[in-house]
Amino acid sequence: MSDSNESQLQIRLITTQDIHAVPDIPLTVPITIDTKALNKLLNQLLKESNHDYLKTKQFDFLAVNHIIRLPLNEHLQEHNVSTEATVDIEYIERTPAPEPQESILHEDWVSSIQSSEKWILTGCYDHSVNIYTHHGKPIASIKDHLEVVKGVTWIDQTDPSKGFISVSHDQTGIIWEWKEGTDVIVPKISLRGHERGVDSVGVSPNALKVATGGWDTNLKIWSALLDIDESGEPSNKKIRAGHRSTFVRTPLHTLKGHKESISVTKWVDDHTVCTASMDHTIKFWDCELFGIKNEIVDQKAFLSASWSPLSKTLLASSADRHIRLYDPRSTEGTICKSMFTSHTLWVSSVVWSNYDEHLFLSGSYDSTVKMWDTRSCKAPLYNLEGHEGQVLTVDWSNKKYLVSGGSDNNVHIFKNKHCLL
């Protein structure tokens, strides 16, 4: 393979992707081999074993469960692995670079965003809630909030006809009804009960309940049903002057426990809400017993968090430049499993991909969006440039599109080619 002067190393190439399997033979490679050379080697092997294999593909290589970025010997040294024994190197097909698509210019900062199968829902600092197609075509927009809209979410991502919810600093949330594809948005139910601005909203996986949290430090659970009769809760009809009629809904439950504002509310499962707060804690609430199930305490104020049902872990970003991966199941010692550091300013938003347990997206005040693999802590897979101000929100609910909104009034859409293959 190479001159004998250089020290060599035995590797075995393994994979979990059947279509790219190569014969399981130990190979001797120079110790300083890097990803490029490994790619070349693997492509050669694939060509030999499979004659249908024509186009060279790019792969990422993992040793010791971390993506190899450095020459192999340095990588192994970093993870304290001996170079004497045969090293198992797993390879996966490289996640292709996301392709920049349209950008949607808003009138003001975009505070929150969520995409569904066909539509992108955005909440804006100009008090408006907007719906766009993935090609950037505005469908509907409505200004019914009196203050900055801080959070938007579809009630059911697969079925936009079930409506969506927005929360705002005017201390209310609104459940909207929207006929898919039209520009008619009707505020159906007003969620009243918060005493300060509402920052975050989350809908349970079964689309029955909504959790909101905000600056009054309370977590409130509401019914997410559009239908007023079925919810079976005390609600009174209220007619606002010169406006369409909306119903007022009061919270089913108010959960107190945080000392400072709640920045994120996410549902873990149908009965568990996870909240990350500025008081340096992440709390897991049981929504049947209405108590705290679990708590993660750290040193810094949390700005964002995302729960992955695939890996059962929690990503959180605090008021610093790191993203931390927590495993709430581990009970002893530090529950921070790893730390992802590449951003230079506060990370305002993180979100897991919903199809791969390793991929996630983060947006930061340093005006970059980064796509990460959990197996590579020090460097992201891709930097998605384009924003000119702080990135305030990112979303990957629709696995085909990476969307982000920021203080440059823009929403940038990136096409994730990984899923189109």
């Binding site: 900062w109 600092y125 900055v148 005017d170 201390q171 005493e195 300060r196 601005g197 600056w215 009054d216 400072e260 504002s261 920045s263 500025m278 008081d279 040193q299 810094k300 104020a301 700005l303 008021a319 610093d320 430049r321 300013l345 506060w346 305002s348 005040y365 702080q390 305030l392 203080s407």
Partner: protein
């Protein structure tokens, strides 16, 4: 005694010896079976020497003897020993068969046996135990180490003087085979005297085991036999020993009698005295002395000089003093001239003598000044008092107080997180609301702005009529109000952010103008007028407007949020004004001018007002209307003050680059003076929750320090500078104008002359 002991000992020795000897002789026969040459040897000996033959017989007989003894002593011995004996017998028979010549010998042996038995019956101890003759006859070299023959082929000489050739010792292979095959290999040892292999018997092994176990080798010896007390104090009726009594035991000694009589005579004559008589005499004659000085018994010199200081040492003579100095030390003409020139002032000379050269030491004349110099030296030492110089060895490091490492004092702001951009001129003042959601800033561009802290979004801008010099958010959470000092006005503005209910209630409360009966004095009236705002001002959020007669430089809330104080530095005796919102009333606490008032501050809990004038900080009790304290800052111009949330510590920033920490319980002088900044300090602030304080100065640097105040009154505050943050741009020689901490997080805001506000997070 000697006679008594010796036989006993010998008996014991003999016992052991005999056992070893018998064991060797026991193996002799088995050896004979194995090794033919030995037999030959023996035959040679038997044939050639009658003496040695007798010896053999003797030993044999003793062997038998031993056997019999064994049988006698241990009748119920195990079968092994008996079979051994049988084997031996059979061995004997074989021997008979092998050599017919020996038959006679055996017969003779038998005879001898009976003989020896009969001999044994007689009590001749020497015959039985003396082992001098039972040396192994095969030892042909006498009592010398065998290794002396290591280099030779032979081992000793036989009767005819012929060399006895050494037996073939087997090589390693033989040895290995033997080890494999011979069951007795492990008990085979080489006799160092004869060089032959000897198989140890069970008894020998027992013996060796006993010796190794440190037991008495003789099995039959009873260690715990009852003690027989032969020699006791009791007089026996019969003597134990047959030694006759010595003569001296019953005849008196004449010599002793002579000595005694001499002593008796001396006593009679009074030549010697008994001890009692001596004591009596001593008591009669000797005078009674006692120590007058307690230190009398100590050395003489220590009594006079408590701390001896040795005379200073003189310098050792150098080359110039030598009788034969090197030529360069000898004076040339010029030096000599110089030396002579200084005749009048000899003390100025470099040397006090002329170096002189002599060929030999013998030629050196007597030194004429010797006596005089010695005398002068003595005079020096005598007249010049010596004193011990106390030297303090202080290492500079030990003087520096031990401060904890900043890493242990986390969290504190370290990194620039967010910049709040939007103002177009210097941002003079900043403040935050109680929850830390919003930031308020006032700038020279005649605006106040409200920012969302977490995103850096400007939420609201209110345009004022003139430069905003001070803003402060109301500390009362139930009121949504901010205090703004701009120009001659003080504005109470409802910022319109936060809780709706609070906002609306604030407006409602402020709408009701309280009915006021109290007549406002002319003095106050001329100082300030309360106004309801114009509708367009109301629209902006202004709820109450106070017009002052002079420019207002600072406004500050009382902790409860009802009173506020305002400062007009040019107002002379009316420079400090305290106003109450609920009554829409103002009052002037001071009748006299106290100097140029820089800042005022309310105590966080007590009704106490701090007034910082140009050089001092005065503390007033508002209830008693009296001055409590006057803090001496020892600086030229105070710029700003901040109070610790506990209320007992005050931080003063000055234009002469200093920061002064006052512990109000401690003294009126600064507890610590911090000279951290290069230029005027313009803003200081304490954190409400964390033990942090920060200062901003014109040198553009924001310095975050740890300021821990302990509840323990005996423990002084711990002050550790932690971090210098220098991100602001300089603008007209101004750097940072105001510093403010986030109310909840360990974050700090700094507002600069470069029209930005920066947030530093941990």
């Amino acid at each position: 005694m000697g006679k008594l002991q010796k036989p006993l000992k010998r008996k014991f020795d003999a016992n052991i010896k005999e056992k070893v000897a018998t064991s060797t002789s026991e193996h002799k026969e088995t050896d004979e079976e194995n090794e033919d040459f030995l037999q030959d040897n023996e035959e040679v000996r038997e044939n050639d020497s009658s003496d040695s033959e007798g010896d053999i017989e003797n030993s044999d007989s003793e062997n038998e003897n031993y056997e019999s003894f064994e049988e006698e002593s241990e009748e119920d011995n195990d079968n092994l020993s008996e079979s051994d004996a049988e084997e031996k017998d059979s061995g004997g028979e074989e021997q008979e068969a092998s050599s017919s010549d020996e038959e006679e010998n055996i017969e003779e042996n038998d005879r001898q046996e009976t003989n020896s038995k009969t001999v044994n019956t007689t009590n001749d101890e020497y015959d039985e135990y003396d082992t001098s003759d039972e040396e192994d006859i095969r030892n042909t070299i006498g009592n010398i180490p065998k290794n002396w023959y290591d280099e030779y082929k032979h081992l000793g000489y036989d009767w005819d003087g012929q060399q006895i050739i050494k037996p073939n010792t087997g090589d390693h292979l033989d040895e290995f085979l033997k080890r494999m095959e011979d069951p007795n290999f492990w008990r085979t040892v080489k006799d160092p005297q004869t060089g032959q292999n000897v198989i140890l018997s069970d008894d020998d092994i027992n013996l060796i085991k006993r010796i190794r176990a440190q037991k008495i080798p003789d099995v039959s010896f009873d260690e715990y036999a009852p003690w027989i007390e032969w020699f006791t104090s009791q007089v026996e009726q019969m003597p134990i020993r047959k030694i006759p009594e010595s003569k001296s035991s019953f005849l008196p000694s004449k010599d002793e009698a002579r000595k005694v009589s001499k002593l008796v005579h001396a006593l009679k004559m009074g030549w010697i005295k008994t001890r009692e008589e001596q004591a009596k005499l001593r008591a009669k004659k000797e005078p009674q002395f006692y120590m007058l000085w307690s230190t009398d018994d100590q050395p003489e010199e220590m009594r006079r000089i408590h701390k001896h200081i040795p005379a200073p040492k003189r310098l050792l003579p150098g080359h110039a003093e030598s009788y034969n100095p090197p030529p360069e030390y000898l004076f040339d003409d010029r030096e000599l001239k110089q030396w002579n020139k200084l005749k009048e002032t000899p003390s100025k000379r470099k040397l006090h003598f002329l170096p002189q050269k002599y060929d030999s030491l013998r030629q050196v004349p007597a030194y004429p000044r010797y006596i005089k110099e010695r005398f002068l030296r003595c005079l020096d030492l005598y007249l010049c008092p010596r004193a011990i110089k106390m030297k303090l060895n202080i290492e500079p490091e030990s003087l520096v107080p031990k401060l904890p490492s900043p890493r242990d004092l986390q969290p504190f702001p370290t990194t620039l997180a967010i910049e709040y951009k939007g103002h177009t001129d210097m941002v003079r003042t900043i403040s935050t609301d109680k929850t830390g959601q919003y930031l308020l800033s006032g700038s020279d561009d005649c605006t106040i702005k409200i920012w969302e802290v977490n995103t850096g979004r400007c939420v609201k801008t209110v345009i004022t009529e003139s430069v905003v010099r001070c803003v402060e958010w109301c500390p009362n959470g139930a009121l949504s109000l901010v205090l703004v000092a701009c120009g001659n006005q003080v504005l109470l503005i409802n910022p319109g952010v936060g809780d709706f209910v609070v906002r609306n209630r604030t407006d409602e409360v402020l709408k009701e103008v309280p009915h006021n009966d109290v007549i406002v004095t002319e003095r106050v009236k001329s100082t300030v007028q309360w106004y309801e705002p114009e509708p367009n001002m109301y629209e902006k959020g202004v709820r109450i407007q106070l017009n002052h007669f002079k420019m207002v430089s600072q406004v500050t809330w009382h902790g409860k949020g009802d009173y506020f104080g305002s400062v007009m530095p040019e107002g002379q005796s009316r420079s400090v004004l305290i106003s109450q919102i609920s009554k829409r009333k103002s009052q002037l606490p001071f009748t006299k001018s106290k100097g140029l008032v820089q800042r005022i501050l309310f105590h966080p809990t007590k009704p106490v007002l701090f007034v910082a004038t140009q050089r001092h900080v005065r503390i007033y009790d508002l209830l008693k209307q009296a001055q409590i304290k006057k803090l001496m800052t020892n600086s030229k111009w105070i710029s700003t003050i901040a109070i610790h949330p506990g209320g007992d510590n005050l931080l003063v920033g000055t234009y002469d680059r200093k920061m002064l920490w006052f512990d109000l319980d401690l003294s009126t002088k600064p507890y610590q003076t911090l000279r951290l900044h290069g230029t005027a300090v313009r803003g200081v602030a304490y954190h409400k929750r964390y033990p942090l304080f920060a200062s901003g100065s014109d040198d553009r640097s924001l310095i975050v320090s740890h300021g821990m105040v302990y509840n323990d009154l005996l423990k002084n505050a711990l002050i550790v500078p932690l971090k210098r943050l220098q991100d602001h741009q300089a603008f007209n020689d101004f750097g940072i104008l105001d510093v403010h901490f986030h109310p909840l997080q360990p974050w700090v805001f700094s507002s600069g002359a470069d029209s930005t506000i920066k947030l530093y997070s941990n």
